[in-house]
Symmetry: C3
Subunit: 150 residues, 3 copies
């Protein structure tokens, strides 16, 4: 199924690829057809800042995780020209900023991986961990490895 | 040496591959013969929960890290059908939940990498870092990349 | 441009590759020409310990991040025999130990990636995250994937 058709069906619009916040490439192609996407934050439009367990509900965290995935997709589109060239999400590493007693990182990260499964079929490998602080006080940051067709 | 013979020599039994705690694949094969294993927790049987520096000793943390490695091996066996097809552990990323003043993450992570060296020979690349919280209040979570034979 | 000429121009000297702090390989070659470099700490000479937001300024953090990059380079030189064989830094994952309200991890990590861009041209993919504690109370730890020529 066409990635853009699925996005439309889900009523989702790709954001503009996020501005870089430092000295790095948003996406690096390596080893032939692999793409390493830098950690993408969750800001799209008005920022939602703070930490899980204190400032955001699980549902809000899931929405922010989905935003990370949308930012990753925007980066991948700019890199490849066409998201239909992406054949697989290999892995996601999801960082969830939270209090010392917030333990539901996987539920938050599901907000990102659920979208990627809808778009690409196979679920990626994934780690979801808690951290005490992320850049600019964003609640979620996610990096990933993708495979593309020749 | 046969992986299963080594496990027997060490008096270790592979657990059942852990249940998934979210929307992801426990293992994704990519780029030919590489395997990305999702972050595995340390629960085998009765859970040992809490944080290094507060609730667990270093020795208990090492045992939990070894549990992570055993869970990773269970995932790899289900994926490949035979652990002897694994030729190398490329890297481990070990997350150790601890207090703000617990600084011995490498000693904890040794519990996992020591086992993998006994099984596969070469030691993997590794990062071992502290985090303030992990899913379900587990003390250790480890992800890895492995290579398998054709 | 020759990597060693650039280092000399920048008045930088490669340290001795850091001693291992656990059971792991400082560098593992995989999948042909990829190199996984284990998380390198920032200690070169007299250790600078502590956390961002409490014990170190941003500028001190950047210097420590650059130290991580220098330690990574020392590991890569030992592995390859000649840093000019490195063709690309694919990705960096930068862990910055900080207080719960320190949010400038990318600025700190720039200390490492700026140096790698000067040496190898293209900027790597990167994630920069905060953590509550790192091994031995170091402020920065960075791992990376590199590509080398045949």
């Amino acid at each position: 199924m066409n990635v853009y058709d699925t996005l439309k069906k889900l009523n989702l619009t790709l954001p503009k690829a996020p501005e870089k916040g430092g000295v790095y490439s948003p996406c690096v192609r390596f080893d032939g057809n692999l793409l390493y996407v830098s950690g993408c934050g969750c800001v799209i439009g008005e920022p939602v800042l703070g930490k899980l367990g204190a400032d955001l509900t699980i549902e809000q965290g899931q929405e922010q995780a989905r935003n990370c995935a949308l930012n990753i997709l925007a980066v991948l589109e700019r890199e490849t020209g066409d998201l239909n060239r992406i054949t697989k999400c290999v892995k996601l590493l999801a960082f969830v900023a939270g209090t010392d007693t917030f333990y539901q990182q996987p539920q938050v990260a599901n907000g990102a991986s659920t979208l990627l499964v809808e778009l690409f079929g196979e679920a990626p490998a994934r780690s979801a961990i808690g951290v005490n602080a992320l850049p600019g006080n964003i609640p979620v940051e996610i990096e990933g490895i993708f495979e593309m067709a020749d």
